[in-house]
């Protein structure tokens, strides 16, 4: 026999179960907390799925299986589709506007100048205010007699000017009031994120492009935008989701009115659930929104390659 030691064999566990426990001990330790998190996270979703197949409202409390009764009511409800369209309009206008304004502001603040830090802090203040408060504030701003906005317009045009911003037949006027508030509050958020990303673009690439003679637009399209693209899409996703769920600002300004002209998905869901107590239909409503949003987010993330 040579003196070379045999390869040491690992100690054999007593039984197959003990072996399994041995090998997967770390997973077993993590499992209980994962279970709790799943329960907390998924329970409301699953519960509302259950409720959406029942028939519970202010008058009846029928917990038997109703099939797609509530879903049918939802998709045939014109007011629901109106709220989807209203939300789409607000998102479709506010999101690009916030992005463009955020980019322009970021460009403005890229170079250092005296007072830059203080100005950035001031610009960001709107985003610190609670959206409902911001909405209430702007309702005062848009007030037709005492509000500063009409007052300023009166200075400019002279004479009397008494525009009802928030209760107007013309959707253009009501929407511009809402969108002004929304863009006022959330552009700073875009600005801050984009400024951070933009400041990280390699300076020497920009210098090389300047020496190469590229125009500002070419530099932005070929060098800056590709570099900040992932951040832009994350910011768009965050703001996009916020906008699809838009509630506070609109509720504070118009309560979805006049009529249901500015009613968003969230406001309609709130009215259905907490003013009409049409619980099962609201559950179906919530479930449809959750599922479609999840699909949307997944598609967007995959398209822009953030998840890879």
């Amino acid at each position: 026999m040579s003196a070379v030691a045999e390869a040491p064999t690992p100690p054999q566990p007593a039984s197959p179960i003990a072996g399994f426990v041995d090998r997967n001990f770390r997973w077993l330790l993590v499992w209980p907390s994962i279970l709790v998190l799943l329960l907390i996270g998924l329970f409301p979703v699953i519960y509302s799925l259950f409720v959406s197949f029942q028939k519970i409202n202010r008058r009846v409390s029928d917990t038997s299986f109703q099939g797609f009764y509530n879903y049918e009511r939802l998709v045939t409800d014109e007011r629901f589709w109106d709220s989807v369209i209203n939300t789409g309009i607000m998102t479709g206008i506010a999101l690009p506007l916030e992005l463009v304004l955020g980019l322009l502001l970021a460009r403005l603040f890229l170079e250092s100048f005296p007072g830059r830090q203080i100005l950035i802090a001031l610009i960001v203040t709107p985003s610190v205010i609670a959206p409902f408060v911001a909405g209430a504030m702007w309702r005062l701003m848009f007030e037709n007699i005492f509000g500063p906005i009409n007052e300023i317009i009166r200075w400019i045009v002279g004479g009397t000017f008494d525009l009802l911003w928030l209760i107007n037949d013309n959707p253009l006027i009501v929407y511009s009031a809402i969108l002004t508030t929304e863009v006022w509050q959330w552009t700073p958020f875009m600005f801050l994120i984009l400024l951070a990303a933009w400041s990280n673009v390699d300076k020497s690439q920009l210098e090389a492009a300047e020496i190469d003679g590229a125009s500002g637009w070419r530099v932005f399209r070929r060098i800056i935008f590709p570099a900040i693209r992932p951040v832009v899409f994350v910011a768009l996703t965050i703001r996009g989701l916020d906008l699809v769920r838009l509630f506070d600002i609109v509720y504070a300004l118009t309560r979805g009115g006049p009529g249901n002209m500015t009613e968003t998905i969230s406001i309609y869901a709130y009215i259905k659930g907490f003013e009409r107590f049409d619980i099962s239909m609201t559950a179906a409503f919530a479930f449809v929104v959750i599922v479609s949003l999840s699909i949307l987010v997944m598609v967007v993330l995959r398209r822009v390659g953030v998840t890879q």
């Binding site: 492009a209 003679g213 590229a214 070419r218 570099a227």
Partner: protein, 369 residues
């Protein structure tokens, strides 16, 4: 092809003066290297010429036209950056073509010019790749390609080789020199590496603390440095400097050291040093100008010998570096291999006194003689 004239250039960052009045003329087709230790202002000078730094005062003129107020893009220069600064989201082809597209060159011409540049640099096979798929040396070539493809007046290189490993650096250095010989464009090259400066330059501009310490042909600077700084900066291993005393011994001007060691000056040069008699001076001698005395070999008239106790031996294969102490200073000597094997040996060393320099300790200037 262009001439460059810089006059009275000053630039400060806050309270720090980076350039304290630089005057410089670069002739058409010249390969000019700015060299100096970090913080000497060489990169600032280059970036000022490119227009990437605003200058405080002075003028920069290309072919006689003052370009002070022109944006970098309008100065018609090309620049290679230290970190390559390739556009990461464009292919190699588009990287090289970027400047041409920006200047609205027709597509067919872009194609032929890019492929010419790629051929010149041996990167034809890489044109479809993205920068992140390239090695450091390949990226460097693309960066150079981006510069040569444009018909610029001036080529500027900002420490282009410092991010490459030593072996690649030697190869690229030769290639840059060959490229300059082929294209013949006026080139300014910034480096902190004195070997790059010596090998590439038609003219070296040695900067220190924001001023030009000395400029001239590489060998001129090497052989006739004006100051101790220049003498010490160029050459590897560095020139030795020893504080010593100059006086008459037996009627000849002689450097006097500790332990009674003496080095008489070259009689042919002695007259120029006469006014430093009885004063302290600094002796400057390059390691390669000290040799081991070999018994019966005839001595040159300028040679002077001293005894040295070797305390450190560093063989490199081709040469052996040995050190000994003279006036409390370590002196490095470059000897043929196997000249000295062990520390602790005392040998006789010959100083080539026709090539040593003497430095005034007050002014740090080399005493001309």
């Amino acid at each position: 092809m262009a001439r460059l004239a810089v006059q009275g250039l000053r630039k400060s960052y806050g309270k720090v003066e980076a350039l304290k009045g630089v005057d410089l003329d670069i002739a058409e087709g010249e390969f000019c290297v700015f060299v100096g230790p970090s913080g000497c202002g060489k990169s600032t000078l280059l970036r000022s010429i490119a227009g990437l730094e605003e200058i405080d005062s002075g003028t920069i003129a290309i072919d006689g036209n003052v370009v002070n107020t022109l944006r970098p893009r309008d100065r018609n220069i090309a620049m290679v950056f230290q970190n390559y600064a390739l556009y990461p989201y464009l292919s190699v082809f588009e990287n090289i073509a970027f400047g041409l597209r920006a200047r609205k060159v027709p597509n067919a011409e872009i194609k032929s010019r890019v492929s010419n540049a790629a051929e010149m640099l041996g990167i034809e096979a890489l044109l479809e790749r993205m920068p992140r798929q390239l090695s450091g040396g390949q990226r460097q070539r693309v960066a150079i390609g981006r510069a040569v493809v444009r018909d610029a007046l001036l080529f500027l290189f900002d420490e282009p080789l410092s991010n490459l490993d030593a072996q690649l650096r030697d190869g690229m250095r030769a290639e840059i020199k060959r490229l300059h010989q082929e294209i013949g464009k006026t080139t300014i090259y910034v480096t902190h590496d004195q070997i790059e400066a010596m090998t590439l330059a038609d003219r070296i501009v040695l900067l220190r603390d924001g001023i030009i310490e000395q400029q001239g042909a590489p060998l001129d600077l090497f052989e006739r440095p004006a100051t101790r700084f220049v003498a010490g900066f160029l050459g590897s291993p560095q020139m030795n400097f020893v504080a010593t005393h100059l006086d008459h011994v037996d009627g000849a001007l002689t450097l006097i050291f500790d332990e009674g060691r003496k080095l008489p000056l070259d009689p042919a040069r002695a007259a120029a040093f006469d006014k430093y008699r009885s004063r302290d001076v600094i002796l400057g001698v390059r390691p390669e100008h000290i040799a081991r005395a070999s018994g019966g070999a005839p001595q040159k008239p300028a040679d002077a010998s001293i005894n040295a106790l070797i305390d450190l031996v560093q063989p490199t294969g081709t040469r052996t570096y040995a050190q000994f102490r003279l006036n409390e200073t370590e002196i490095t000597v470059e000897l043929p291999s196997h000249s000295v094997e062990h520390p602790g040996t005392t040998i006789e060393l010959l100083f080539d006194m026709s090539r040593v320099i003497l430095i005034d300790p007050q002014t740090q200037h080399v005493i001309q003689g």
